[in-house]
């Protein structure tokens, strides 16, 4: 059974609803489940009608949840560097560097990196504690970039390590010190730690026994096209997409002409979905009359029964 599930899809198709329902289902089956929201809007608090914070909290039996806040994480990271700074360098430089750090914290990409860091931390540290970790991810583009990051960053860190090792070794040789003690260099230590973390996370991500993707879509043109693309791209990273959730299916008995047309159109798209995605299981979730709220999640969770 896969430990880590990413739930992705186009914006607005109901990823949060589906991941919450899936999490509730897993918890009811007796698996210890962690639901992780990476969406900056953080709607799982609203959905479960209770406060879910930056730390892991228990929601119900077997089900824990956490909302990752990229801004908070990057601030935490920068603050820890600032603290570290005071112990190492002179006060004159601290001023200068602090300014640079503040500039970096608002530069593009830093939130993304912070988010990625936290996700890696959860994967690395919590993997053994939970039977199932469910990530409610941001819309498609982000998710795929997230998967390519370890590869990109891994090679960067490799080359950084190589350079640093060489520099330290040479300067040690020049000062007649033992060139073998390179590994004690603080920078080499930091980089090695990062490299190990990244490798661990990457190993989980490329292991198709551990990681699985579920895509959520609606029976509409644009989500179908986007899902096709996403499935293709994931195939390149050797990540199979085994399940699709088609959310918001209209009820059968439609009286109104407008809704009858809608239903016919939906049928056409549903056929297109089952034609285009032959190797995936398709889970169909109905459109609800009410807003998605805590009391309906149980009902939604029932629909996952056919698959697991």
């Amino acid at each position: 059974m896969n430990r880590i599930v990413f739930i992705g899809g186009k914006g607005g198709v109901g990823k949060t609803t589906c991941s919450s329902a899936f999490a509730v289902y897993c918890a009811k089956m007796g698996k210890k489940t962690l639901l992780v929201s990476t969406d900056p809007a953080h709607s799982i608090s609203d959905l479960f009608e209770r406060e879910i914070g930056l730390e892991i909290v228990n929601i119900r039996e077997n089900l824990d949840a956490i909302e990752i806040d990229a801004e908070f994480e990057s601030k935490k990271y920068i603050d820890s560097i600032k603290k570290n700074l005071k112990n190492i360098v002179s006060t004159v430089i601290v001023e200068e560097i602090t300014r640079q750090l503040d500039a970096a914290s608002i530069s593009p990409g830093s939130h993304e990196s912070a988010m990625f860091d936290k996700m890696m931390e959860i994967i690395n540290e919590k993997e053994d504690q939970y039977d199932q970790i469910i990530f409610d991810t941001a819309p498609t583009g982000h998710t795929i970039r997230l998967l390519s990051l370890p590869e990109l960053l891994g090679s960067w860190i490799d080359s950084l390590l190589m350079k640093r090792r060489k520099a330290v070794k040479l300067s040690k040789m020049a000062n007649s010190q033992n060139p073998e003690s390179v590994e004690n260099d603080p920078i080499v230590k930091i980089l090695t730690r990062r490299k190990n973390n990244m490798e661990k996370a990457r190993n989980v991500m490329i292991d198709d026994k551990k990681l699985r993707f579920i895509f959520v879509l609606n029976a509409e043109k644009l989500p179908i096209e986007e899902t096709k693309k996403a499935v293709e791209i994931l195939k390149k990273y050797n990540i199979p997409v085994n399940e699709l959730i088609v959310n918001r299916i209209l009820p059968e008995q439609m009286q109104d002409d407008f809704w009858k047309n809608k239903k016919a159109l939906e049928k056409k798209y549903l056929d297109e979905i089952s034609e285009a995605f032959t190797s995936q299981k398709i889970i169909k979730l109905p459109l609800l009359q009410n807003d998605m709220r805590a009391q309906y999640i149980e009902k939604m969770a029932e629909y996952f029964k056919d698959v697991y």
Binding site: N84, V89, L153
Partner: protein, 97 residues
């Protein structure tokens, strides 16, 4: 076989005397220079964004800042001063030799 060993021994001996009699400490300065060059490259790859080159990894190299802070300022000045860079590179060629 013994021939090869002898050759190796002689080569080591030559290197030993070369090193032992290197009073000008040319080898050390060469090592230092090489180390500095390598260090400059390292900082460049870590903090190129301070020179205006976007860097995908800049967020992760921030935690190296405390250890590199001292060097960073000088490095930035040197990198931005084209004259000093050319002068430095010109110095690589030992024109007196």
């Amino acid at each position: 076989m013994p021939n090869e060993k002898l050759e190796k021994f002689l080569e080591w001996g030559r290197l030993f005397f070369q090193g032992a009699t290197d009073f000008g400490r040319k080898s050390r300065s060469m090592l230092e220079k090489e180390a500095n060059d390598e260090m400059d490259n390292f900082i460049l790859v870590c903090f190129a964004d301070t020179l205006g080159i976007p860097l995908p990894i800049s967020y992760y190299t921030l935690e190296l800042l405390p250890y590199l802070a001292q060097d960073l300022e000088m490095w930035e000045k040197r990198m931005l001063n084209r004259k000093s860079i050319w002068g430095e590179k010109w110095g690589d060629y030992d024109l007196d030799a």
